[in-house]
């Protein structure tokens, strides 16, 4: 059986020392091993940005795509091969700016994939511009007087559009992060996991210390019930979204694959491409 080490490869990440993404990578590798997966069982589809490189750092199948489009690629892949564990990953720019349309619709569609957003609230690879997650007043190269646009609240957004699995964690809590990724993969349907993954180079506000002082672990809220959508929304609002843990999970919602008429258990890619002569003649006769 594979251990987390089997999910490591020899590529040295081109992330800055101290980047939050290292923990996400480690948590992912642990989660895969903990779930008893082998490297060939897993495909990671990522977008563009510092975090988008993550698909190249895991010893598994990896598809490093174009900016903002990891989700439709991941959904197409999952529909082609439902035996694969498909994880989409990328940054907050990828998921909540250029790819926001896909994020919303992937949540609605509910294909059984897991989406991990490494949220550093800034654009790193392009060297420090504002992101849709930057807080009001955040000064960057593209907002020298401070951001004047409201930050997106991805957890609230996900609840609004009908997500079945909404969770948030932080790079400094490897144990919780690993558990959440595992739970997300095990969840039947689309899972959104937002990870506060500090950028040590371009975000001097939302630092490890800042999160330590501001995040509330849902485990510490007495009576918190992640199956209660109202409570989830209320708690997020009360804490300005700064909570970690599984915020909401609806175990009853069926994934897209289960709702497609005629969709079989056997992965689609294994099915016969040829149609029979009888089927061919029958279909042709429709045009007579």
């Amino acid at each position: 059986m594979a251990t987390f080490k089997d999910f490591r490869n020899k590529v040295k990440p081109n992330w800055c020392p101290g980047c939050g993404d290292f923990s996400v990578l480690a948590a992912m590798q642990r989660a895969f091993a903990n779930l008893g997966l082998e490297p060939e069982d897993v495909a990671i589809v990522s977008g563009i940005g510092c975090s988008g490189r993550i698909s190249g750092y895991v010893n598994a199948y990896g598809f490093h795509s174009v900016h903002g489009r990891s989700l439709p690629i991941a959904q197409g892949l999952k529909l082609a091969n439902r035996d694969l564990t498909v994880v989409a990953a990328g940054g907050d720019g990828d998921g909540f700016a250029i790819g926001m349309g896909h994020t919303v619709h992937a949540i609605r569609r509910n294909v059984d994939i897991t989406y991990i957003v490494m949220d550093n609230q800034v654009y790193g690879l392009t060297k420090g511009q504002t992101s849709p997650r930057s807080q009001l007043g955040f000064k960057t190269k593209s907002t020298p007087s401070g951001s004047i646009e409201a930050a997106i609240a991805p957890m609230e957004m996900a609840l609004t559009v009908g997500a079945g699995f909404v969770a948030q964690s932080v790079s400094s809590d490897l144990k919780q992060l690993t558990n959440i990724i595992q739970a997300g993969i095990q969840h039947k349907g689309f899972s959104l996991i937002n990870v506060y993954s500090p950028c040590v180079t371009y975000n001097k506000i939302n630092t490890y210390d800042w999160f330590k002082n501001n995040l509330v672990n849902l485990d510490d809220i007495e009576g918190y019930d992640p199956s209660n959508r109202n409570m989830a929304m209320q708690t997020l609002m009360e804490h300005n979204s700064l909570v970690t843990g599984i915020i909401y999970q609806n175990k009853d919602r069926q994934p897209y694959e289960e709702l497609i008429k005629g969709f079989r258990k056997e992965p689609l890619y294994k099915q016969d491409l040829k149609i029979s002569r009888e089927d061919f003649e029958r279909l042709a006769s429709e045009f007579m």
């Binding site: 490093h64 999952k78 694969l84 005629g262 279909l283």
Partner: protein, 585 residues
């Protein structure tokens, strides 16, 4: 008696124009007549002038005609708009309800038939279109039993009574015209051969072709004039285990196609110009990652929203050149519905053999025009997946942390393709320049080798069954006509007329546009004094490609039409005549 004639029905959109055309043509198809139709419609659901023109013949037809023999009008606008097309002494059948008049200068005969009144007497005003169909059959000399089967299939779920009422409406319309004792026996159709043939729009043929080719997924966003492809496949794919995903936009559609093809399922998308513009970046991803993708572009009037329901062929250069950087890409352009079927099957083979994007280019006239198709041949469905590692093959174990050389250098530039999920097949895929295992690489040596590998895949041409349709009888032709997509039959018809007048005309039609069949076209151009490039666009896009690929610019005469309508044979005929008369030849 006529071997062929043209019939048109027009009125306000939503008045049953389409179904009148559908029912008449389906019945005629079953009687063994050849048909070719073109729908003139607007980008709205109700209202606005709309018409369907149908050419009916005992011989194969592949073009709409210049003339019109019978015009069926539900309003005066239809007459005012279309009467000029009528042959001298042609016939207008119109609803007497609006007191139809024949415009000045038109020598047509008018038969006013109380469409609405008869329909109301039979039971429902909506059936006025069936009265009109009946009135038409009186002229065409088609027995009404031809309609029973068609109406039963269409209306039987609404009950036998509805079928009978519609039949009665047809019969009453026929009787009315016959009682007018009009001598129009010259319009009666000759007897057809009675053979069974298919009757389909290009989009039907593409959808059916995709299913036959083994496509099991489609991701698409609705757009005119491509939506019929997704609509047909969503009805048929479930029984073959597949589905159609209606995505949030065309970018999601093309990237889902890439993801599913990466996963090993033949998957397509279909759109028109605006959608293709959005897909441009991802087409580059398909080229760079050597992931097969089949993309249908049903061209319509551009630019921007342009003329969304009208004919144009102005996306050609965009299909050849759009996407940043340089990738291998294949563009094929079927010219008939029959070819749409077979070429779509080939498109899926090409995409997997060359591991690159394949664009199937059509135009609105081909995608939506309904035409007779000879029975399709099951034995011509061949599936070739290229260098795909099969599911049964066991791969040797990879050394510690090594990857499978998914992009390994080979003689033909095509590497073995392994699907995710395969043991010992791990590799990386990225739109970043990469080495043989897919890992990012900025090495100058690797960069040049990889570019040469990818672009070299198509360097020696492609394995496409019919790169050029040639009708080339003359070694010293006055004119070579070149076109692509739906103009094939129109050009052929113009050519026939020119030849009848002693002009030597050759015709080359291009189903394969990229890679361009330079050799064949160069040979044909050498044989002709002038080369007229017929295309539905303003800037002579195909002519530009030919100049670039072949040269001989001095011979090339671009001939464009971009008013939203397809070419008529007479327009091409006149253009060639003028060249001849004005001493240019």
């Amino acid at each position: 008696m006529k071997k062929q004639l043209s019939w048109k029905v027009g009125g306000q959109q939503g008045e049953g124009i389409d179904s009148a055309g559908e029912i008449l043509s389906t019945a005629l198809n079953r009687k063994g007549y050849y048909l070719y139709g073109y729908r003139h419609f607007s980008s709205r659901i109700k209202g606005g002038h709309s018409n369907t023109k149908l050419r009916i013949s005992v011989n194969p037809v592949r073009s709409i005609s210049d003339e019109l023999d019978i015009l069926v009008a539900f309003d005066q606008e239809t007459i005012d708009f279309n009467a000029s097309e009528l042959v001298s002494n042609g016939i207008i059948i119109a609803d007497s309800k609006f007191n139809p008049t024949v415009p000045e200068g038109v020598s047509a005969r008018l038969i006013a038939v109380p469409f609405t009144k008869i329909a109301e007497e039979v039971g429902m005003a909506q059936m006025k279109n069936m009265v009109a169909v009946g009135a038409s059959t009186a002229l065409l000399g088609v027995p009404i039993d031809a309609f029973r089967e068609v109406l039963e299939e269409r209306f039987s779920r609404k009950g036998q009574k509805v079928v009978e009422k519609n039949l009665e409406a047809i019969a009453r319309g026929k009787e009315y015209v016959e009682s007018e004792l009009l001598d129009a026996s010259e319009l009666k159709l000759e007897k057809s051969d009675g053979k069974k043939r298919l009757y389909m729009i290009g989009n039907d043929a593409i959808a059916f072709g995709a299913l036959a080719a083994g496509a099991r997924l489609m991701a698409a966003y609705p757009i005119t004039p491509s939506s019929e492809i997704m609509e047909w496949l969503i009805k048929r794919l479930p029984e073959f285990g597949g589905t159609v995903v209606q995505t949030e936009d065309e970018i999601a559609a093309i990237t889902m196609v890439i993801g599913a093809n990466y996963g090993g399922v033949r998957t397509l998308t279909a759109s028109a110009g605006p959608g293709l513009s959005l897909m441009t970046e991802a087409i580059g991803l398909s080229g760079m990652t050597e992931t097969p993708a089949v993309i249908v572009n049903t061209q319509r009037g551009g630019p921007s929203t342009g003329l969304p329901t009208k004919q144009e062929q102005s996306d050609l250069l965009a299909m050849l050149f759009s996407t940043h950087g340089e990738i291998p890409k294949i563009v094929i352009a079927p010219s008939t519905a029959e070819e749409c079927f077979y070429d779509t099957i080939e498109a899926f083979n090409l995409a997997e053999q060359y591991q690159c994007p394949v664009i199937i280019l059509t135009d609105l006239a081909l995608s939506l025009g309904k035409q007779t198709v000879e029975p399709l041949d099951y034995n011509r469905i061949q599936i070739n997946r290229g260098k795909l590692v099969s599911d049964d093959e066991e791969l040797p174990p990879l050394a510690n942390s090594e990857l499978f050389p998914r992009y390994g250098f080979t003689e033909d530039g095509i590497s073995r393709r392994v699907l995710p999920g395969k043991k010992n097949g791990l590799h990386h895929v990225t739109g970043v320049e990469h080495d043989e295992t897919g890992r990012p690489s900025e090495s100058t040596i690797n960069r040049v080798k990889m570019m040469n590998k990818r672009l070299g895949k198509l360097k020696n041409g492609i394995n496409f069954s019919k790169p050029v349709h040639l009708d080339s009888k003359y070694e010293d032709a006055d004119v070579l006509l070149i076109g692509f997509n739906s103009t094939r039959g129109t050009i052929a018809e113009a050519m026939e007329r020119l030849e009848a007048e002693g002009m030597r005309v050759n015709h080359a039609h291009l189903p394969q546009i990229l890679p361009f069949p330079t050799q064949i076209i160069a040979e044909e151009m050498k044989k002709a004094r002038k080369v007229v490039v017929v295309e539905n666009n303003a800037t002579g896009q195909l002519a530009q490609v030919i100049k670039m690929q072949v040269g001989m610019a001095e011979k090339i005469v671009p001939f464009g039409k971009y008013n939203g309508n397809p070419f008529l044979p007479s327009e091409i005929y006149k253009q060639c005549k003028e060249l001849l008369v004005h001493g240019n030849i």
